[in-house]
Amino acid sequence: MTEILNILALGLLLGGIYALVSVGLNLIFGVIRVVNFAQGEFVMLGMYGALAAQVALGFDPYLGAVLILPALFALGCAVYWLILRPLQGEPMMQIFATFGLLMLIQNAVLAATGGAAFSVNSSLAVGSVALGPVQVGTGRLIVLIAATVVTGGLAWYLNATWHGKAIRAVAQDRAAAKLMGVNVQRVYTISFGIGAALAGLAGCLLAPLYSMTPQIGINFILPAFAVVVLGGLGSVAGAYLGGFIVGLTEAFSGYYLDPALKHAVLFVVFIVVLVVRPQGLFGHAGAEEVGLREDG
């Protein structure tokens, strides 16, 4: 019994990690339908940013988020404006361009750091907590809580604030949103910036858990797409749950089948869901078509 609880806990915590990493991608791909393969690199930059903040200013990585978020927001806006705005409505070119961006960012960091693995420690993410019969790493628990808070915050933002509604309006129907007085390009730019900033936040919170290398971003990007698609495009809650689906799938297949096969199992499940229910498990039918229309 303890064993299953352990695996369950592991899956949920892992789900928290995936949900946190994917919440930014959900906004970018799920809502405004821009295919961004460099999203994992934003997470990596967040990690290295936390490292820089600790080395230069002695900041705890959680505190370093205060600096990382605006920096990545700015980077996201710049990336959108320069690279993705001209490619609006052309998802395949977006894939190429963001792949190129992935290579550029990853190797720029490699050139700058030489490739050594770095660690960042936080005074908060130390040790583990006992929840009943199960041991839970403090750092991971923090990530899970953060994922929940951020998801809730994003849902609130999209539903309750004018800006958030503008984002949803643009995703639903660009032309109509324009008619309603929404500055479409500004909405896209800001959304992308927010998505990048959220990825950076994930990086800061994950930094105490991993030894960071320039290649670590690429390990996150495909699972992140799996999360967003599995959970349901356009649905913030769906992406949150998608994280747990991915986390639990990996945890159970890793423990009961073989850790070397869990990746394969996850992606087979992903392909099956994609084929059988392309709108994801919690999305509305036809959700996958939204936003890919080419219009004004």
Binding site: M93, G100, M103, L104, N107
Partner: protein, 355 residues
């Protein structure tokens, strides 16, 4: 829509199709012959320079695979980023036949192509229901699955350590000491791929593929069996890619999952080459390869040593700039220069067509 109408198997329709193909070839033959003659001359010009010949051989090989990709990616508009699966299957099949059945690699090319085509049919059927970026992401997921499985189930793949073909010189072993032979071998492969691309482009399948690419809904409404058309295109593309994988195996003689399934070296690379050269054009991917492969090699030699990774960063920048400014590729840009008044048709992959 019956299979017959895509590829007639009997009667007057078949005669007409053969006649059409013959006309095609006569039409296109001069240009193809010219291009191949030019490449042959280029190869001969570097005779004795193994370094250059090796790069040319690699460029021809990946030019061929990119041309194969173009059948489904450019003509059909289905941007697969998972062609490394077919590449790997071709390599593994050939390796097993050579190592365990003592077969000549030349003969093994046929089963390699068949396996790849079979895999394409099997795997594409569910995945072709997806549009645009979802299709691309699904093909990436497929690559990951195959990478994991190839590493784990090592009976036929040699697992993580891979397979290696021992050196045994000879034409029938497809193992040569001099680089000229490899360059000529790969040029032969490129020629076959170009020929296939030309034949498909001018065939009914080619027209149907383009119809599907430009507007899938309308094509369906016009009575085209979209799934069949995509499958046929994918099977041809995969078969040629599988042969490419087999030739890669014979050139390098050491293959393992990270090399075969590599996104940057195979999966995304062939799409990249087609993009830079001109997606959907016949000679575009070949041009892309002839440009990028030597460039890559030069970047790796010049930049790779001093600051680690700068060569790949430069390549990433090239990719970004191409996607932004050179979407039609070099061939497309050249066409635009020649006839600036006529807007060259920009290939629009399925998924972004108006609804």
């Amino acid at each position: 829509m019956k299979m017959d109408e895509i590829r007639p198997t009997s009667g007057p329709a078949q005669h007409a199709a053969v006649a059409a193909a013959a006309r095609t070839l006569r039409h296109e033959a001069p240009l193809l012959a010219g291009v191949l003659a030019a490449l042959l001359a280029l190869t001969w010009a570097f005779a004795g320079d193994s370094f250059a010949l090796n790069i040319l051989a690699t460029a021809f090989l990946f030019g061929g695979v990119a041309t194969a990709w173009n059948v489904i990616g450019g003509l059909g508009g289905q941007f697969s980023l998972g062609h490394s699966v077919f590449f790997a299957l071709g390599a593994y099949m050939t390796a097993n036949l050579v190592l365990h059945a003592g077969l000549s690699p030349w003969l093994a090319l046929v089963p390699a192509a068949a396996l790849a085509a079979g895999a394409a049919a099997l795997v594409s059927w569910p995945v072709f229901r997806l549009r645009g970026p979802f299709f691309a992401i699904a093909t990436l997921a497929m690559t990951e699955v195959m990478l994991s499985l190839s590493t784990y189930f090592d009976a036929l793949t040699g697992g993580a350590q891979g397979l290696s073909i021992p050196f045994r010189r000879g034409f029938w072993n497809m193992i040569f000491v001099d680089r000229m032979s490899y360059a000529l071998l790969m040029l032969g492969f490129l020629a076959v791929c170009l020929l296939a691309m030309i034949v498909v482009t001018r065939s009914r399948l080619g027209y149907r593929l383009r119809a599907v690419r430009d507007n899938e809904g309308a094509a369906q409404a016009a009575g085209i069996d979209v799934l069949r058309v995509k499958l046929a295109g994918m099977a041809i593309s995969a078969a040629l890619t599988g042969v490419g994988g087999a030739l890669f195996l014979m050139q390098v003689r050491v293959v393992d999952p990270p090399a075969l399934y590599s996104l940057f070296d195979v999966g995304v690379k062939v799409a990249l080459l087609a993009l830079i050269g001109g997606i959907g054009t016949t000679y575009g991917p070949m041009l892309g390869a002839l440009l990028v492969i030597p460039l890559e090699s030069w970047l790796r030699a010049e930049l790779g040593g001093a600051l680690p990774g700068m060569n790949l960063a430069a390549l990433g920048l090239v990719l970004i700039l191409t996607a932004l400014f050179l979407r039609r590729g070099i061939v497309g840009a050249l066409r635009g220069l020649r006839r600036p008044a006529i807007l060259a048709r920009r290939p629009r992959p399925a998924g972004e067509a108006a609804r």
